[in-house]
């Protein structure tokens, strides 16, 4: 992962990407126990010039392919990790990217989405594995309830949250 993040940081220095943040299962691992995953989701903002081209990821792919990295379906393999670059698709993901927290992996600086944003995105995506991850976040008590409620309210996820609670949580659970 160190090599992967060094390349991504270099892309940032070279102006290919703007701010980025690790999301998905690897992002969740920042807060939870590790769970098997085959790839890394990297949410990225694209610099102004790239954004004008209808959010094309072509500059990222061109940069990496020119340096010998291989494309495998929707991933590009950097170091020994298949990486999926994802421009934020809605306001929730844009906010999650903007408010990501700085951390380090083996001395390399990187950013990870907050636990509350990861939970809200999982709720919004709503696949079975997302629901399982939400339960892990709650079980490990790594989510700030006020902050989560604020995010859910602002991004129209209150009803979905209520349905999730009815389905999976005991009536007396606070979150």
């Amino acid at each position: 992962m160190k090599a992967t993040l060094e390349i991504i940081n270099q892309m940032q220095t070279d102006g290919i990407i703007g701010k980025y943040a690790i999301g998905g299962a690897v992002g969740a691992t920042f807060y939870l126990e590790p769970a098997a995953t085959l790839d890394v989701d990297i949410f990225v903002t694209l610099p102004e010039a790239s954004r004008s081209k209808l959010l094309s990821l072509a500059p990222i792919y061109d940069y990496l392919k020119a340096r010998g990295f291989k494309v495998e379906k929707e991933h590009i393999v950097i170091g020994d990790w298949p990486v999926q670059f994802l421009p934020p698709g809605n306001d929730l993901e844009r906010e999650a990217l903007a408010e990501a927290v700085e951390t380090e992996v083996e001395g390399v600086k990187t950013w990870v989405m907050t636990a509350e944003h990861l939970l809200a995105i999982a709720l919004s995506t709503a696949r079975p594995k997302d629901h399982a991850r939400i339960l892990q976040f709650l079980e490990q008590k790594v989510v700030n309830a006020d902050r989560l409620n604020d995010i859910l309210m602002r991004h129209g996820l209150v009803l979905k949250w209520s349905r999730f609670q009815d389905r999976y949580l005991d009536k007396d659970t606070d979150e």
């Binding site: 690897v26 126990e33 098997a36 995953t37 085959l38």
Partner: protein, 53 residues
């Protein structure tokens, strides 16, 4: 599952969650490599079964 083994499992999960991100990423890499090996051996077995005798 007995109560004591459930508690042991929860303690282990908490212990894993409290590791540094770097340590957790190393575990992720081991899990990923193991998943890839399992997938490769399953695919090899499936190909062997498909081969005409």
């Amino acid at each position: 599952m007995s109560n004591s083994s459930r508690t042991d499992k929860q303690d282990r999960r908490k212990q894993l969650a409290s590791l540094s991100f770097s340590e957790k990423v190393k575990i992720l890499e081991k899990l990923r490599d193991r998943s890839k090996k399992i997938a490769a051996s399953r695919s090899k077995a499936a190909r062997a079964l498909d081969k005409p005798q």
